[in-house]
Amino acid sequence: MTTTTTGGATFKGAVGSAHTRVEGRDKVTGAARYAGEIPFARLAHGWFVLSTVARGRVRSVEDGPVLGMPGVVAVLHHANAPRVDTDYVGLLGTAPDPTAAVFQHDRVPHAGWPVALVVADTSEQAREAAEALVVHYEQEPHDVTFAAEHPDAYPLDSHGPAVAEKGDLESELAASAVVVDAEYTTPEEHHNPMEPHAATARWDGGRLEVVDSNQGTMWVAGELANLFSLDPASVRVRSEHVGGGFGSKGVRAHQVAAVMAATVLRRPVRVVMTRRQMFSLAGYRSPTRQRLRLGADAGGRLRALEHRSLSLTSTVHEFIETAAGPARTMYDADAHHTANRVVRLDVPTPTWMRAPGEAPGSFALESAFDELAERCGLDPIELRARNEPALGPVSGLPFSGRNLLACFREGARRFGWADRDPRPGVRRDGRWLLGTGTAAASFPAGAAPSTAAVTAEADGTFTVRINAADIGTGARTALTLVAADALETAPERVRVRIGDSDFGPAFIAGGSMGTRSWAWAVTAAAEELLERLTPGAAIPPEGITVRSDTTEAVGALARKERHSFGAQFAEVAVDPATGEVRVRRMLGIFAAGRIVNPLTARGQFVGGMTWGISMALHEEAVRDHATGGHYGADLAGYHVAAHADVPSVEADWIEDPDPDDPVGIKGIGEIGIVGAAAAIANAVWHATGVRHRHLPIRPDRVLTAGAPSA
């Protein structure tokens, strides 16, 4: 907390001290309205009908009988739906996922593909009619098998190159005193935000208005304008409260279908995905197969590092889970080979899910490091200390800050790591075997251009307008604190309005870049406004507004290795009789830039670590090879961690302000999950003496993995 004096009044900085959420009262009283909860006159309800085959063609949609059912006003499908344009590059620099461009042709590329939208006066009528709709298919053989060595797999560039290689891998491995060579797998995982995807579309005086649940209204508005060939100024998307996103809430079938139906019917139409439909329509994290080969000299210094990752995508769109990416930041070696490959199968398109690349990649890499430490007879933290790179291992660029070892030191002290007996399988608490594990974490720290407007109101308050999204991160509150500091006023005098595409371009809530990108724009506008205000002078009734655009400033950032870092610690108990694994405690220490609001930031870190528990022990979507669809596509069949699974989870941070950011922010939304599953898996090894290289660590896997080696 800083204190400065302006105009005789004492100004106390708000950034860095705990503040409850500005919208908190609305959330605990039920007053906060989410996308599907805003009433409209003459609202109609759309209900998706999804394909029951995994590959083929729609031969016919028997809409006649359904159109005669009570309340049904339309059945949209490939033969009658408005056409959309998918030949463009969107805000994020990619072509649209055709999965969102519904009803454009008769092809069925995966099970759960939208084949029709039934629209009716009430949701009950729409649901019954959707369930009654008969669709005939011409079925073709499908392939949903994610095999280790699929002949059609190919390398795919993403934000970085698919393949990065330096040095002679085989000769360095041959010359290594110690080698780890292991395969790790992670399953298909689903975001499952608590609020299902929901959108209401309507035309209002020549303008398309969409109330939606998304991670960036400008992003969705731009995609809809492109898809429907509309003037971008004639599309407005709002998203005031968002019930979780985690990467899944971008442009999806529900918005497009709602716009189509509202266009055809000239009345407001709401489309809400059911929980089951979300498993096919909302995106997911691809399963991965990863091979790690590490070679080190007797002292643990890496000579060879190879990380190869295979993930899958759909037949209609390319997306790659870059699990081999983290090694390019974390560790150097004389021979350093990383490769991300993908295979196209008859499945839905995967997408970003909390810490894409880093979450599954860190499981494999940090597990392999623990195996290497064991074979070298080194403490896992010491092994990492011996492999700290001075420069980016692949880029050769300097780090903007790399406080990884400081995180390990602080974490080890607080976790009690120094007293740890490294031998596995020797600690008991009744029927439980106990163990502890650790892992490193990293996630890129970035900023993207954004605009903001800050208004000094005549009543002495301030209004900030920025197209930010608060998907539960606390961004609205953080920006209030940032604006207050820049305006040298109290947070209570600042009103932050977000989630409206009319506020102008701003980056999405994604890539752990949202709050940093928005705070930069808010700070720039607020500082300029403060300069313009004349002390004592009256403010006109319309207020005084300053707009900012950070495009130039963000573009001027020097190229560096920019990341947040962290150290994860876990203690587990394993029951060898039942195979049950219980996490007893976790600690994460992070170096993740300046922390704006400690209250909500802790929630971001702990929430990510809770995802790590869930990833390590519970989450797994299983595909039925016969039908190409999921088994148990719901919250009973797909387990996410519940209260009883989550013990004491503690997160804290060390001082690590980013010197190149006006506020010092790096970004905290994703790093909490990175390394968390590896720390748990490493603790399971320490408890039992058995390595678990396949997630989740289910009871049956523990039971069949063999007896403790110790």
């Binding site: 605990v28 409209f40 949701s123 539960g472």
Partner: protein, 209 residues
Amino acid sequence: MAPAPTSTYSAITLHINGEKHTLSVDHRTTLLDALRERLDLTGTKKGCDQGQCGACTVLLDGRRAVSCLQLAVAAEGREITTVEGLAEDGRLHPVQQAFLDLDGYQCGYCTPGQICSAIAVIEEHAAGWPSAVTEDVRPEAGPPPLTDDEIRERMSGNLCRCGAYVSIVQAVSRAAATTPADRAGTGTTTRAHGADTDSTDPHGTEAAA
């Protein structure tokens, strides 16, 4: 929008947050949809619509229930309390206040269900109901200490995907310690004031339902 009673619709009266609401509902309408779609009580959330997530938890005669598995026509005559009916004269219920103060949420979508569930948990515990983690379940043993493990076990029907469990448990623990016995639950409490069933529209221009 309310059709006349037919073989598929009935006129019913629901008692919600101390107020009577008479409406005609489709027999297929769940209590959850009646609250959200018909009565504009959208504080109760739909997370899965099949009884697996707890977001739609309300209090029925003081006991927690998932409103997505309850037909509206079957809720006649029950005293229904939703998240909108918990604050009294603008003063938050201690559980609501604890969630706010301790950041027992993130996106807020599971929050109304968590809060309704927590209120019932505190009352169930005070009434001596054991849970799966209660060590001594003999009736004469009395209520076990409301440890964090007890809270976690009893709250496990309410999923929070943001992963706010740690602070939710802290909030429930604090609220349990500060909730006067006569305010713990709502089973026997009649709430005289209404909730947001009047037409106050927080969103201005577009509401016209």
